[in-house]
Symmetry: C2
Subunit: 272 residues, 2 copies
């Protein structure tokens, strides 16, 4: 019997934080990751364009015979999840729902902050997901468009990063949220500064771990988990040249990155 | 007799600064502008990917019967100009050469600074263009990846912008350049802060106006200038939905933006 892989994609390298959690929770599973590095970022683009890109990638991964698709990008999860669920006959897991669930579990006051890209915040996807689970929750959101470029520049611990974070987080601080969802896979890189500004009483929620648990749960219920004695193989595709992805990915995954191939996604790839 | 248009493209809205200068220098000319807003930015991507995108756009514009192509994007000018000149049987004008010429004209000490995206700086295109014109020039370069997101966030005059600019420009200041090329179409938006930090003795060069003069010169020599009595029409294409482009473009061009249409560029569009 051959076991199918888990497909996972992001606009770039950020989704590797989700892959890392998946590899810890389910080390026996094969994975195929796609980072759309030629078209990154998604967070500043329209829902229509992000959905088109997500459909192309989902089709590409589905043709590589995956049993489940993880949308490791918050923006794509926020705007394209229904379209991807319609497109694919396999389970599709986004990062919004697991992050919202975790936030609802940890909040005491019911006052929850969410930060993310412009696309994610504008979609209100987190607010809807949180209110579905806890209708009396008070959800305050803030787009932080400079956090991704700051993280990519490696400026995660200097005065510019601090001042930017203070500007973005001021209202959430004043509103005294007790939980803050880091609604973008890049943001955990700024966790120390965000935590320092928000204070120790505020719990920071990052959905990577929760998403991995959701995947494990679905595969287990579908009897599609590989035996734990196996060791997973990991393959990566990128749409721009692999150099930058390999450098950052090796750092993220501590040498367990697997092979990286460049691929051209055709605009015509939407169909299965 | 029908007159052909001038084609012009950029990764996004930044190239409208070049279009604005073109409209001032040659108000009689029709223009077709394409902003690749679905795949912006180019400055962080590989030369191979930027060249592929530039070829797709050049083919798209050429099929709309243009007489000259302006590459209004510094990154695309830096890495894709030779490929575009091979591809098209019409003149192709980039922004690097005009900017370099202007810098060489205005420098007194021969010590010239250049700032731009990672892609532009890594290509060394400005250094080569300046040294071709003035072999004894001393060229100091610095990539400023956060300037584009800062300009797009509208943070062009706050403490974060100031601190970022100070960090990026410190070495150029210490090196006492007397001329600084703003090697990215977004950077003129940060001109006040850059000028303040560099000091009054440093001349800031922005290639938009020089590029427009180069275009006028080529069309004149080719007897392809429309009679000055005419009034040009302006058409714009974007690859993401037009909303953001229309908003910023109207501000840039003071109501003279013209129609804006969304278009899908096929990966197969490279051929003529």
């Amino acid at each position: 019997m051959t076991w199918k892989s888990i497909g996972i994609f992001d606009s770039g390298v950020g989704g590797l934080t989700v892959l890392r959690e998946l590899m810890q929770v389910l080390p026996q599973e094969d994975t195929i990751y796609l980072g759309d590095t030629a078209r990154v970022p998604y967070g500043t683009k329209s829902p229509e364009t992000v959905t088109r890109y997500a459909e192309e990638i989902a089709s590409f991964l589905f043709r590589r015979d995956i049993k489940l698709l993880v949308v490791a990008c918050n923006t794509a999860s926020a705007v394209a999840l229904p379209a991807l669920k319609r497109l694919l006959p396999i389970p599709v897991v986004g990062v919004i729902e697991p992050g919202a669930r975790r936030a609802v579990e940890v909040t005491r006051s019911g006052r929850i902050g969410v930060i993310g890209t412009t696309g994610t915040i504008r979609s209100s996807a987190y607010t809807r997901a949180i209110k579905r689970l806890k209708p009396d929750a008070e959800v305050l959101t803030r787009a932080c468009p400079l956090f991704v470029p700051l993280a990519e520049e490696g400026w995660t611990d200097n005065q510019v990063a601090r001042l930017t974070a203070e500007t973005y987080l001021k209202e959430l601080q004043l509103a005294q949220v007790d939980t803050l969802v880091l609604g973008c896979t890049h943001y955990p890189l700024l966790k120390p500064i965000i935590g320092e500004i928000m204070g120790k009483e505020v719990t920071l929620v990052d959905s990577a771990h929760e998403t991995a648990l959701t995947v494990a749960d679905i595969l287990s219920r579908n009897s599609q988990l590989r035996p734990a004695s196996e060791e997973g193989n990991h393959t990566n595709y990128v749409t721009d040249i692999p150099a930058g992805f390999v450098r950052i990915g090796t750092r993220f995954l501590g040498g367990k990155l697997g092979d990286v191939f460049q691929v051209v996604l055709d605009e015509g790839e939407e169909g299965l």
